[in-house]
Symmetry: C2
């Protein structure tokens, strides 16, 4: 209890291809103070860490100093929890294997944990959000791509190599859509926000019915346009969500057969499409799930604010750090 | 160490639709003595447990008595690890929820754990077999159906309800073959031993090439016939295994994306088909796996003798019983 009282805060850092955002967070998930730097402005990882720590340190000092910080959690693309390294991340400016956690620890003297953003999101929901009190759930983040974090027995599944939980790249259509990963038919080519836009373009090209979406140049359509059209009663737009929800539900039914979770927590802009996507999704789960799992797994939406979720998720990792629990 | 030395044995019980086999096992996985009873010969679960214990007790006494037994492990269809119950098992004579572990414990005064046979097989491989020393692997049993046991961080994944790991019922072909579970396209309709026989019948009916398999009445073909034909150079038979191995490999590539295991351990008669199935299987994994997992998960065959594996797997559960570790 002593150390808990002495170290009431954690730091969360979320590294994206464009921005790196960070904040100091208390036990209830309040972001007390935050900041950001441009990720791509630094040619080496050392320069980046230098800039990051220079921006972060004043915030830490303002909250009472390094002694008040239990740990730092980092969410980063291709983050390996075991080694604290970022490995071959295609959307970051630095190549190869980057010992980010060690560099930050060295610089600030604060224990640092690192994992990918979807795993961080899972820990965030478990600590502050929709999965509080749960020991078995699956987090699915629906963004430009699809990420996932799997929690079993209260622990994130990192797998043998630290990279487990790539459910966005489960193949849902053999010989289906080309994916950025080089393979075909991955879940994220259909059910991410960009997947929804692809479906819109496909359906508009293949069909002749009128649609509000025809007023937008096909290449410019984004998932928000499809939502706006659906809300206005556009049948094709509603059908696009039905297709998306159905494919996602079919995939979730298979994921449930793997780990039989208490819940699946969905996060991302698409979740805001509400019933347009959630109804066909729930129906597809019910239609496709093995009898013994029927009605067991709840489908929940994230309870974290979009703008806070990345920092909160990363910060939650730091509460689990054992080294600091002296 | 005291209790370990005093209780050097465990009991394994494997309950099948036809036979229930049991044995007393030492720490090295040697079955010291064994026996069996007919499962379906008893109209109530109480009569069954009575008969089981009456057959088992003399074996225990011959090994030095109840005090020498650390615990009893039971592998049973639809076995729920958390509650020690068998729940709605379609192939057993007794219906509903059966508190089997409690009934055995009550009768013999020995701590008893229960799970389904594929989970038991996974613990068996981890304790005595191909997965010794591994903390993350997936066990796949290829029999009449397909079962699976998933181990993460050294623990079997039981999920929220005790029934996780039904990978035989992941859907690999939407609107595919009818499955005994009432749904369509489950992995086990293609890649179990009966799935191989179904493929044989389908291919023989759809094609006209000569094949040794045409000498056998279509309805009588079993997977062993396909193997025998393949060994004799029969092209259609070899193609049947290629199809089976490819579908299984595609599915395994997706499973790897879930938990990134160190290995996948295969068990069952089909594994004896060797290269006929293993080569296309490995190729399908390599062709379908996400880049970051490439070449990481080993595909292994069980190291337990077919005839011993069920009892050994069940017995291994008992070493993990905490209650007895006084």
């Amino acid at each position: 209890m002593k150390s808990y009282l002495e170290k009431p805060y954690v730091v969360g850092i979320d590294i994206g291809g464009t921005n790196s955002v960070f904040g100091i967070v208390d036990t209830r998930g309040t972001i007390l103070t935050n900041g950001s730097i441009k990720t791509a402005a630094y040619t080496t990882i050392e320069e980046y860490v230098d800039a990051l720590c220079k921006s972060l340190l004043p915030l830490i000092v303002a909250q009472g100093g390094v002694d008040k910080i239990k740990g730092i959690g980092v969410g980063a693309p291709n983050g390996n929890y075991y080694s604290g390294t970022i490995e071959f991340a295609p959307n970051l400016p630095w190549k190869g294997v980057l010992p980010l956690a060690a560099l930050i620890e060295e610089r600030l003297g604060i224990p640092t944990a690192l994992t990918n953003d979807a795993n961080a999101a899972a820990v965030g929901e478990m600590t502050y959000g929709a999965a509080r009190g749960m020991k078995d759930f699956i987090m699915i983040t629906l963004g430009t791509g699809i990420g996932s974090g799997i929690v079993i027995n209260g622990q994130v599944v990192y797998g043998h190599d630290g990279f487990a939980g790539e459910l966005g790249h489960v193949i849902v259509r053999r010989q289906g859509r080309m994916c950025g990963c080089g393979r075909k038919g991955c879940l994220e080519t259909y059910c991410s926000a960009t997947g929804v836009a692809r479906t819109a373009r496909e359906i508009l090209a293949a069909r002749t019915e009128p649609s509000l979406l025809r007023d937008i140049p096909a290449e410019s359509i984004v998932s928000k346009d499809v939502y706006d059209a659906a809300v206005q009663g556009d049948k094709l737009a509603q059908e696009i969500f039905e297709f998306t929800g159905t494919l996602l539900g079919e995939a979730l039914a298979d994921f449930i057969a793997f780990s039989s979770p208490e819940a699946i927590v969905l996060f991302g802009g698409l979740v805001k499409s509400g019933d347009y996507i959630m109804k066909p999704l729930q129906k597809a789960i019910d239609d496709n799930i093995l009898n013994i799992f029927k009605g067991k797994a709840k489908i929940l939406c994230s309870e974290l604010k979009d703008s806070d979720a990345a920092v909160l998720g990363a910060s939650a990792l730091a509460w689990e750090l054992k080294e600091a629990a002296v």
